[in-house]
């Protein structure tokens, strides 16, 4: 099952992202949500989403840390990670590269852009098999 994980501590943003992606649910994609970094990490390990929209500024464990663990420590490199950062706060591109994120988007996000990216990744997922060993 193709899964997309939405991680943000703001319920409003989570719901908007869910709404943005709800068309995909009818196409058989499962949407998962997490409200902080720790929760996100355990969902990533257990549910293996192909795409994660990951807020950077979060309590407990921030997006950079989560991304770093996923990409560099446990080596789940085939998970596509989009970091979400608030407009106005400068995104540290160097850091983004370091932790292995695939892309970043600024909030307010553009719903069309988010949906297009999700479509692209889920379609790609359907055509390739998962290469990372199950942990």
């Amino acid at each position: 099952m193709t899964k997309i994980l939405i991680v943000d501590d703001e319920p409003f943003i989570r719901q908007l992202l869910e709404l943005t992606l709800e068309d995909l649910e009818d196409e058989g994609v499962e949407l998962l949500t997490a409200t902080n970094g720790e929760e996100a990490l355990s969902l990533i390990k257990n549910e293996r989403p192909c795409l994660v929209f990951l807020d950077v500024m979060m309590p407990k464990m921030n997006g950079f840390e989560v991304c770093n663990i996923v990409k560099n420590e446990i080596g789940m490199t085939d998970i596509y990670i989009v970091l979400l950062t608030a407009k106005g706060q400068e995104f540290d591109k160097e850091k983004g590269r370091e932790v292995g994120s695939d892309q970043y988007m600024t909030k307010p996000f553009n719903p069309d852009e988010v949906l297009a990216k999700a479509r692209e990744i889920t379609v790609r997922q359907l055509h390739t098999t998962c290469k990372t060993p199950i942990l």
Partner: protein, 458 residues
């Protein structure tokens, strides 16, 4: 979303607990299935006890079923209630998402036009954005002067902006907009008494003012050929967009004014040198013209032209640093005086380096007496090591010097001067630059061949 809603509800621990507790109260097995019959909750082997099947609906669609005994209606009603609430929540959420889409768009737009310093560019971006947000056949920005007269119409497709205005003029509608300076929707133009002009091409339109410091400088107009009912929210959006445009326009206007002032000062600076040098009458202007024509011949990029123009205008600015008795000397220079004179490109650099915005102009000034064979001054650079601006100015400058009268000799004819350029092409001059200068296209542009000018205009 519709199909998955029951599954999603049951995925929430609090909902699952609630359903479980109700089922225990009913004391009979109950199962809940999605619309495809997949069991989401309940005892898969309890089928034989099930006497009732109740469907869960969203609008007219069955999105799932509850199966159980007579009492299972209690579970079904609760679930139906939760499903309804969920749909209401999503409907609200969708509206919010629409608003959010607008916010995101406005943020992007702010960033895009905020850094844009060109009036036309600002308008192009804004009309393009309106095109994606609103339904319209024409989107145009009308700019007016201090007397509220329309001076410019810029439409997003660049074509029928005039159409909008001819369709309204000489009606009072637009004038009225300019006076009231309030955003307005006119959903039926034909019925509007202010439309006194020629037969209306557009049926419905909206207008929002562009205000810079309380002054209306123009309008953003949106027009539809077919009759439309533009809702108030469209006008609100248009107003938000026009406010943002006004801010960006003001910035662009201020920037352009600043730029104009700056160039005026540069030109004044260039003129000061002409005032000191008696032979050069209009020399600077001709060097600028020749240089630009050559750059066109070389097909250099548009954005390069300004730099070249400034460098050409300022190429001899360093002569300000040369003593009068050397600069104005009527007769051959001594060696020591010649050394003095040859310092003018370096002096030029010294004068200009204090002006940050002229940084790019310096190489053209500093190296305009370099030669391709390395025998020039001040550094003796060779070939491509010499900035292209300097190579162009060298040809333009020498050509004009040859074709104008000097105290010690008469002007050469154009043909003799052309031959000199050819003769020294590759040694003193860059051959590509000379070739461009002599090309028919450049010659025609400068009116040298086409008008058969046989001698100088100096």
């Amino acid at each position: 979303m519709a199909k998955a809603v029951i599954k999603k509800l049951l995925a929430k621990p609090e909902v699952l607990t609630l359903v479980r507790e109700i089922c225990q109260a009913v004391r009979l097995p109950v199962c809940i299935c999605d619309c495809e019959g997949t069991m989401l909750f309940g005892d898969p082997y309890g089928d034989q006890f099930f006497s009732r099947t109740i469907s869960i609906n969203s609008e007219d669609n069955v999105i799932g079923t509850v199966k159980g005994g007579e009492d299972c209606t209690i579970v079904a009603s609760t679930l139906q209630y939760m499903v309804n609430a969920e749909f209401e929540r999503t409907a609200l959420g969708r509206e919010t998402l629409e608003k959010y889409r607008e916010i995101s768009m406005l943020c992007d737009l702010g960033a895009k036009i905020g850094s844009c310093m060109d009036k036309k560019e600002v308008i192009k971006i804004i009309t393009g954005e309106i095109r994606t947000m609103l339904t319209a056949d024409i989107i145009a920005v009308l700019l007016c002067d201090d007397n509220d007269a329309i001076i410019e119409i810029i439409s997003d497709d660049g074509s029928d902006g005039d159409l909008l205005i001819t369709s309204l003029e000489p009606g009072e509608l637009v004038e009225n907009f300019l006076v009231t300076a309030a955003p307005e929707i006119v959903n039926d133009l034909t019925a509007d008494s202010r439309c006194t002009g020629s037969p209306q091409i557009f049926s419905s339109m909206m207008c929002a003012p562009l205000k810079i410091q309380e002054k209306t400088v123009g309008y953003v107009c949106v027009g539809s050929l077919d009759k439309r009912e533009y809702p108030a929210r469209d006008l609100k959006l248009l107003t938000t967009l026009s406010d943002q445009t006004a801010v960006a326009l003001e910035k662009a206007l201020l920037y352009n004014r600043l730029k104009e002032t700056f160039f005026a000062m540069v030109r004044t600076l260039a003129e000061t040198i002409e005032k000191r040098d008696p032979y050069t009458g209009n020399h600077t202007k001709r060097v600028v013209d020749y240089s630009l024509a050559i750059a066109e011949g070389l097909e250099l990029p548009e954005e390069y032209f300004l730099r070249l123009e400034l460098a050409a205008a300022l190429h001899d600015i360093g002569k300000l640093g040369v003593r009068d008795d050397v600069l104005l000397k009527n007769g051959p220079l001594t060696n020591e005086e010649f050394v003095q004179m040859k310092r003018h490109p370096t002096y030029g650099e010294e004068i200009l380096k204090h002006i940050k915005h002229l940084k790019d102009v310096i190489p053209g000034v500093k190296f305009h007496h370099e030669r391709c064979d390395g025998k020039g001054y001040p550094l003796g650079l060779k070939g491509d090591a010499i900035d292209i601006t300097a190579r162009i100015i060298a040809v333009a400058d020498s050509f004009d010097a040859m074709t104008t009268d000097r105290p010690y000799r008469k002007a050469l004819s154009l043909d003799v001067a052309f031959n000199e350029l050819i003769k020294f092409s590759g040694t003193q001059f860059d051959s590509a630059v000379v070739k461009a200068f002599l090309s028919a296209q450049v010659q025609e542009k400068l009116g040298m061949r086409a008008h058969g000018r046989s001698n100088t205009d100096a």
